[in-house]
């Protein structure tokens, strides 16, 4: 018995060829569509990071085009200097304090507020806008208000009277960084509330109904339905709050006069600015920047392990 392979169906072959061409064509179109973002990503993120890595291994400083200057390879000297610098170590410690306060506060407050603003409460739109206003207001303007509130002779100290801290808030080495963390939490809250509000729309209503039928109270419903239901948003909020917090600059620069008192609110980015831009030690500043990237990536990895798992 002879078994003959069925002849290939010409129509099937044609469909297959068309499919391949179609797929290839679709990929080309897709590649074209993503090209602008890829170019943006390479030009704005990948190239600067690559250049920063290069700079961090050199005695690098910015120079005029065509100027003959020496920027020798110095290995890991910039990294050693950064590890040995009390100012750099202090700045990383400061930002750790900031993150320990800012990230949990951001997550808890924005979720609670989003849940409240998602419910049918009076003046809901007004409150939604109110929480968002600080986020879109220029930092310089808002900082002016906080300085008015928390300066030595400011409103808060006047209200506190003898209970006002000495030295005052922004010149108190214990209180300066926590106050900055609270300020940033308040200022960014609107954005994160918005993320949670969006996430809350995707929590199935049936779950709330089921919880209600099971006799769950508000707190139980919140803990057992809302919190798990917005888990992916919590991961996003945590990640974004960590990244933006690690890049803290404007607040210590403006609120505490450049990281004061005595460096107690200096952040790594502020030190990078002083070293790289003001003092011309761009290679050293780049090394601090790379260390910051590594630290943030490690934190993000931990967060993904804890919050990002399915």
């Amino acid at each position: 018995m002879t078994v003959t392979a069925p002849a290939a169906d010409p129509q099937t072959n044609e469909r297959s060829r068309r499919g391949s061409r179609h797929k290839a064509g679709r990929q080309r179109i897709g590649a074209l569509f993503i090209a602008p973002y890829v170019i943006f990503l390479v030009a704005i993120f990948a190239y600067p990071v690559g250049l920063a890595v290069y700079m961090s291994f050199h005695d690098y400083f910015f120079a005029a085009p065509g100027a003959i200057v020496e920027r020798p390879f110095i290995g890991i000297d910039n990294y050693i200097r950064a590890f040995e610098s009390p100012a750099v170590r202090q700045s990383f410690g400061n930002v750790a304090i900031f993150l320990v306060l800012n990230v949990p506060l951001t997550v808890v407050l924005s979720l609670v507020l989003a849940t409240a603003l998602n419910a049918a409460i009076p003046f809901r739109t007004f409150f939604r806008v109110s929480y968002y206003v600080p986020y879109i207001t220029a930092s310089v303007a808002v900082v002016g208000v906080w300085l008015f509130l928390f300066s030595g002779g400011g409103l808060v100290n006047n209200l506190l009277g003898p209970l006002a801290p000495q030295p005052s808030w922004f010149v108190n080495s214990t209180l300066a960084m926590p106050l900055i963390a609270i300020y940033v939490t308040w200022k960014q809250l609107g954005f994160f509330v918005l993320l949670y509000l969006a996430a809350l729309q995707n929590v199935p209503k049936e779950l709330y109904e089921a919880a209600s039928m099971d006799g769950a109270g508000r707190l139980r419903t919140f803990m057992s339905v809302t919190v798990p239901g917005v888990r992916s948003a919590t991961f996003l909020v945590t990640l974004l709050a960590t990244i933006t917090g690690a890049n803290l600059f404007t607040e210590p620069y403006l609120l505490t006069g450049g990281g004061g008192p005595n460096g107690a609110s200096a952040s790594p980015v502020l030190v990078m600015y002083q070293e790289g831009i003001q003092q011309g030690n761009a290679g050293y500043a780049a090394a601090i920047g790379i260390l910051l990237i590594v630290a943030v990536l490690m934190l993000a990895g931990i967060q993904r392990l804890v919050l990002g798992r399915k």
Binding site: V42, A46, Y47, P48, V49, G50, L51, A52, V53, Y54, M55, F61, F62, A63, A64, P65, G66, A67, I68, V69, A87, G144, L147, F148, S151, G152, G153, P167, S168, F170, V171, S173, T256, G257, G258, G259, G260, P261, N262, G263, Q274, I277, Q278, Q279, G280, N281
Partner: protein, 429 residues
Amino acid sequence: MKRKALTTLAIISLGASLSGCGGDSGPSAEEAATANGPIDIWYSNNAEEVAWGEAMVDAWNAEHPDEQVTGQEIPAGTSSEEVITAAITAGNAPCLIYNTAPAAVPLFNKQGGLVSLSEFDDGASYIETRTGDRSAQYLSTDGEYYQMPWKTNPSMIFYNKDIFSAAGLDAENPPLSTYDEFLATSQTLVDSGEVQAAIWPAASSEFFQSWFDFYPLFIAGSGGQQLVENGTSQFNNPAGIDAAMFWAQMYERGLTPKENYTGDSFADGVAAMSIVGPWAIAVYDDAVNWGVVPVPTPDGVSPDEVSSFSDEKSIGMFSACDNRGTAWEFLKFTTSEDADGQLLELTGQMPMRTELPTTYPDYFAANPDYEVFADQASRTVEVPIVPNSIDIWQTFRDAYSEAVIFGEGDLQATFDEAAQRINDLAGEE
């Protein structure tokens, strides 16, 4: 994984190769040195200097149709130094900037951004003739002038006569010449309840803030020393420690607040005194009934022997300039006796010129308030023009913040430690 590693390597290599690129398509330095043609200049953005700059440009352009000058205010930024650094790096700095801080000159020079004015045949002699002995303070460590000393705002103590009178003090001859007198006067002012602070310099940690609190007093107390001389720190000597102790007491007693004031504490009547230059006359004339005295010294010396900080601004010529021949001629045109007279007239700031009172007798006769500043201008001391200048000032400011403003640690030990680090920085090339 391998692809990722290769991609990363490619990106880093691209960064490395691009960073070495230079885009200088203009003429060589030798050609540019004598080239004539249109040039751009930047000047400060305060209204008085803008008026002076525009007048200079108009006067020059009327006589030089083939060498037109385009003037503009220095672009806005956190500070002029950062804007200039960015312009040098981008290769689009103008030919001349009439707002170059001497402390930034070593950095600009290291970047290859400045032209040595000593390379012009009459460069050094022109500067030295106009500025006299003080010009030596503006030489870089290689013995060349990379800046033209232009104008100074010698630091003195402005005080509010009305507040002094209200506090029961002699407003015409206030006791402010010694550290002890200054402290006692400050205590009286604050205790009177008339003001929140006796004097309120910024307590923030920017590198330049020490120019407006510690440095004028250190210069006066030391008989005219710079922060660093011959590569060695001077601020940890007895005069420096005395000046620092003085400020430490001001902070400790609450006579000077440890936080920044968000407005102008002197104009607002929140502080009774301020360390200022002659620019302050125009600013405070209508708002405050002011008086002026030299900065205090440990034991008090005759006012005509007190030196102070210059708060000087120079003119820099930048290497991106293609027509340096014209730039040099324009620079001389704008620092001539006539141009300096106009600067004095329009801004009240003191040209870095010898014998100011006798050169412009009519001006000082008509404006006697400025005469005391003109006298002080002849005894000014500059920041040291040494490598890592800004790094040095930041190191000093950090030590000062710690030991003086916040009173932590031992002052002498903190200053000695900072002095050692600063010696190392000043010794680097």
